[in-house]
Amino acid sequence: MYSTILSAACHGIDSYLVNVEVDASTGLPGFDMVGSLASEVKEARERVRVSLKNSGIKIPPVRVTVNLSPANVHKGGSGFDLPIAIGILCALEKIKPDCVKDILLLGELGLDGKVRKVKGILPIVMEAKARGICKCIIPMDNYPEAIQVDGMEVYGVSELLETLEYLQCSVKEQKELQCKQRSGLTKKRIMLPKESELDFSQLIGQEHAKRAAMIAAAGHHHLLLSGPPGSGKTMLAKRITTILPSLKSDESLEVSKIYSIAGLLTEESPLIQVPPFYNPHHTISPVAFAGGGKNPVPGMISLAHKGILFLDELPEFRREVLEILRQPLEDRKIHISRSSGSYCYPASFLLVGAMNPCPCGYYPDRNRCTCSEQEVKKYAGKISGPILDRIDLRIYTNRIMPGELLQEREGLSSSQMKEKVIRARKIQEMRFESQSHYNGEMNTDEIKKYCVLSDELHGLVEKLYQSLNLSARSYGKMLKVARTIADLEGEPIIKKEHLMEAGMYQEWQGGI
């Protein structure tokens, strides 16, 4: 007999449906699998065989042939175990073919007949829904993330036999089982993301750096902090997430998809709702940073999608790692081409870099810093021009004196700053008529259109240029930042003070 079961696999961030075709016929007993398979899929043969045996299901000595179609696409992942097992049972006529029609099956089998969790459930269920499939059976461990997709009948299983029982039920009974499962979980699920303990009011002084952080968050401008050790660069960067608006539902699904593929969604947080924050160590390898590998997984830059990628000690990162940032900073996604295929992961993050101004860390405090101008230049030069090009804001954080730590000072709190950021973002949404386009991402045409300067200001910009010794590339950046500052103030047009302040954040090219 012959049977077909519906399953799916991931390719990059997207997924595609796979038909698991199983044939059981007389002949020399054996188990063959075809269809361009990765080794973990080929190993399914043993898992399925033993798992069926240990579940107490007797398989007569027949010749089993499994084909995963489309046969020309290389398939990886461990999710095909369950559909193959069910397919065999179906081919042996232990299950009626009608029972498995239009049901998507996915799950890894253990030798004891248990069903284990697999990666990438969320994008697969989303794809299935888009293709008009409305029922799926997935591992129980993946249940919380699968039910995030509306309009999909999901049933979570933890054992192979449980799957059989469910499939053999009538439609009405199946519905009841689903409802029971769902009500059991909703109670657990209503856990809101933990209120963050971080707050900008914990930062002492550093008001100018806080302001820069606010501008960065409001207009999606990449930020570079430099300053001596212990000046609060890391503290500041970690708190930027607290002033970012929480993710919108479509953004949240998109981010969760990436996490699903990386296998990072947990039962407690089946959906990512707060902007993620990632700070990879500077010894990170290019593959871990960009994504890829034999079985492609999203890298750090994709995990920081819609959130913050914080690179502490920026010049200490390997050059080839930093250069990876070029494409994602421009296109907000990354293309990875490997022999097994080419993948595209979204990577629209807010880059926050932190660095010391010189090898010893104390420049321009000449009482402590003994680095020559040459050394300072060399250290700063470790970050290539094209990367600096894409960083709109630069700020120097001061060292805090012990006395200042004790002083009582009132500063902006995260909630106050977040309010301003949200207001500025609303203005931008109206301007670009888009939910996810910000001032920091404007191209040259948009700059011309939205950053209109009066004649008087035009003259001013030129003067500013000469006196600050700005580079040509700073021009666009300055206008973009000025636009965001104006938005933060709620001003429809850019004014002189906005431009002046924006000028201060530019990469400064001075000599001795």
Partner: protein, 383 residues
Amino acid sequence: MNADELMLGLQMMKGIGNVSILRLTQNVATQMGIEDWLTHPFEVLREIWRLPIQKVEEILPKRESKAFEEGRKNNSFNQILCEKKKMQESGVCYLPIFHSRYPKKLLDITDPPMAVFVKGEINCLKKPCVAVIGARICSEYGSYVARCYGKKLGEAGVTVVSGMAAGIDGIAQRAALQAGGASLGVLGCGVDVCYPPENRELYHLLQESGCLISEYFPKTKASAGHFPMRNRIISALSDAVIVIEARQKSGTQITADLALEQGKEVYAVPGRVTDSLSTGCNILLSQGAGVALSPDRVLEELWGNPVWKEKETVDTKAKEQGLRKLILDALDITPKSLEKIYDEVSTKAEAKKELKEVAAVIMELCMEGKAKQNYVNFFSLKN
């Protein structure tokens, strides 16, 4: 073969240095009955070249006499001429100690170089010369003062002598040249080598409108051992030495000590006791160095120059009002961060000011050239 070429030949010998040549010349001159060999260089040098090896061994230690013998064999007449031609082609002037244009001031020191290599116009040495020296890694205060002294000395027609190094030296020399004055760079490498490379622009300026001088052969690379030797020439060529900024135990200190030994006037620019870059200067002051209050005063003390008159201080702050004045008051020559300026302004201001207002005004002041951005958000007053 003239005296210059004979001297060049001697200097070209590997392993024969200043001391050996001095010994040879003095010994030979006494034997010949000449009191001062500089008056009869040709005769003495010719005698040295002809000296039998036994005599050389009497005068020089074993190693040096061997080197002398080798050098006499290897350096043929043609090679000397060839070297001379090369120097002429690259515009390097060879001035041996007995040459009429050899800087006479160098003869006063105990170990004058046997010859100097010059690029540029050496006549600037005839004017009064003042050495302006200081640390390579300098503070904003140091560079401000160096610029100020370089400019004033240049305007007053004084030649600024220094080492063309990074930091204070280069800044002072550049300022002097820009003010239309003369400057002389004493190098620790060949005069056709630009060291440090980042001062290439200054190197060319000095060639055109100043002078470069070195005791090392062209193409000699800079090495750490050369610099203390060079420093003795800097102090020897100058009438006075002004130390702008120096750490304790630095090359600048060595120059100052040499200057004192040579009997030159030493001035030091006072600094804050907390600044490690001013420690050297303050120590010099405590040892009795002149206090460099202002370039005019130093000039007046040195030459009683009528240039000196009470400077009318043009107070740029007087006309300013409100926030602009508060900010200008808060600004200093040493760079301050925006945060600090804001703090100072807000303690003095009557109404509460916001950080962004202060930032905007500072940038405006920068644009007008009244303030200066030293680093990303560090500002100082501009001179």
